[in-house]
């Protein structure tokens, strides 16, 4: 019984391929009219034609319809490719799934026209619904996966972008931290900082946490880990950019930052770093002054940025 139904469907598909294709394309163009800028008409009709041909081949095998079976693998593969490319182009999941679901209308119309009795029509419609629903849901799933992959990639890119290590002076590195510090980021921060310490031979690193919104025990622990690792390499760390609220939080949490030099601002920390390297910053002599600027001025270092 089911066999005859499937036969009818494949027969229709083979016989009316051209007209189904044109009708289907029209449906799709109607539904994605706002998305013309993302995809050309020619591309769409090419995809429709190719999908319909693999679909016809799969249904023509007269096997029991199972959209997850091996016979349907080429159809699934083709759909996966389409969904993937559409997800990247910025289509919504509904728009992607509509590609498959919109095939129902032209197909059912022809079934109604060629079915001999209500029983056949019902069976046949059921079969077609079953397979098209499965394929439609499959496109949604692939679409979702592709979006997830895009998000993951962006996350990683952001992770790398958000941890620059800058050289403030010969031997002084600064690491302006922006955003929340979690384990994964600490790892990236630590690795890039230590690598830069080796590359530049710096002996002082300033961790600036002005851009870190909250400091909890975990963040503090991550900071201390970074400091400890830098120390093992032979570089001193200064933590700067501690806002008053953060200072309060740190004390209330009972985090011990005694082993680390801490400063309120990056400028202060830079001053400390200069002093440790026995460097001084002096004001250039003004035009009125007789003596040219001298680097030998003694006295406490003052950092001007």
């Amino acid at each position: 019984m089911a066999k005859t139904g499937t036969t009818l469907l494949s027969e229709i598909l083979r016989r009316d391929q051209q007209s189904i294709l044109s009708e289907w394309s029209r449906h799709q163009l109607g539904s994605i009219s706002t998305r013309r800028e993302l995809m050309s008409e020619a591309e769409l009709s090419q995809q429709s034609r190719e999908f319909l041909s693999v679909f016809t081949t799969a249904i023509g095998t007269n096997e029991r319809i199972d959209a997850n079976g091996p016979i349907w693998a080429p159809v699934r593969e083709y759909l996966a490719r389409i969904s993937d490319s559409r997800a990247r182009l910025g289509f919504s999941p509904i728009e992607t799934a509509t590609f498959v679901f919109s095939l129902k209308e032209p197909l059912f119309e022809r079934l109604r026209a060629s079915a001999r009795d209500p029983q056949t029509l019902a069976d046949e419609t059921w079969n077609a619904t079953l397979v098209l629903d499965a394929l439609g849901l499959y496109t949604t799933e692939v679409h979702q996966k592709s979006r997830d992959a895009v998000i993951l990639r962006q996350q990683q890119e952001m992770l790398e972008l958000s941890t620059p290590v800058v050289t403030l002076w010969e031997g002084i590195l600064a690491l302006p931290l922006i955003g929340t510090l979690d384990s994964a980021r600490t790892q990236v921060v630590m690795e890039s900082l230590l690598q830069r310490i080796v590359d530049t031979g710096s002996s002082i690193a300033i961790l600036d946490i002005t851009g870190v919104p909250t400091v909890d025990t975990l963040v503090a622990q991550h900071l201390l880990k970074t400091v400890a690792a830098a120390r093992l390499m032979g570089a001193d760390c200064i933590i700067s950019g501690i806002r008053p609220q953060i200072a309060q939080t740190i004390v209330h949490l009972g985090v011990d930052l005694n082993a680390v030099t801490t400063k309120a601002t990056l400028a202060d920390a830079f001053g400390v770093a200069l002093r440790r390297l026995a460097l001084t910053v002096t004001k250039a002599a003004s035009a009125g002054a007789a003596a040219p600027s001298s680097a030998n001025a003694k006295g406490p270092a003052s950092a001007n940025e």
């Binding site: 630590m190 230590l194 080796v198 031979g201 690792a229 093992l232 032979g234």
Partner: protein, 129 residues
């Protein structure tokens, strides 16, 4: 059995670890180094681990122990040239080697040792035990 050479450089002892450390080698080094410090009355020990690619908690503890032992024998220990990966591993193992002084390379380590007001002209550390 292979040994890690200990070179005498003025008042300092220089240990360059060029091979993968295994536990027995580490113990051997600990023995050799303490006896050399005692014999030469060295005031500083430089341990270069720039060639060391892998550490475990044992090697980490050994570095800490060597530093502590040298201090008892009145010699400053500076560990130099630790690789970033090694530093991260040690920190993740929870060993930040609090008693050990560190420097980026041998040169800095030497500077650090000579800058320490260690050579104060008083009695040099007599061997203990």
């Amino acid at each position: 059995m292979e040994r890690i050479p200990i070179l005498k450089l003025g008042d300092c002892l220089l240990v360059s670890i060029q091979v993968d450390m295994h536990d027995r080698l580490a113990m051997q080094l600990q023995d050799d180094l303490t006896s050399r410090i005692a014999a030469t009355a060295a005031r500083g020990v430089l341990i270069d681990i720039s060639a060391l690619e892998m550490v475990d908690s044992f090697i980490g503890r050994m570095l800490g122990n060597i530093a502590a032992m040298s201090r008892v024998l009145d010699a400053e220990t500076v560990v130099v040239g630790m690789r970033p990966a090694v530093a991260i591993t040690l920190v993740e193992l929870g060993m930040s080697l609090p008693g050990v002084r560190t420097a980026l390379n041998i040169e800095r380590g030497m500077d650090l040792l000579s800058a320490t007001p260690d050579i104060r002209g008083n009695d040099n550390g007599s061997p203990v035990g």
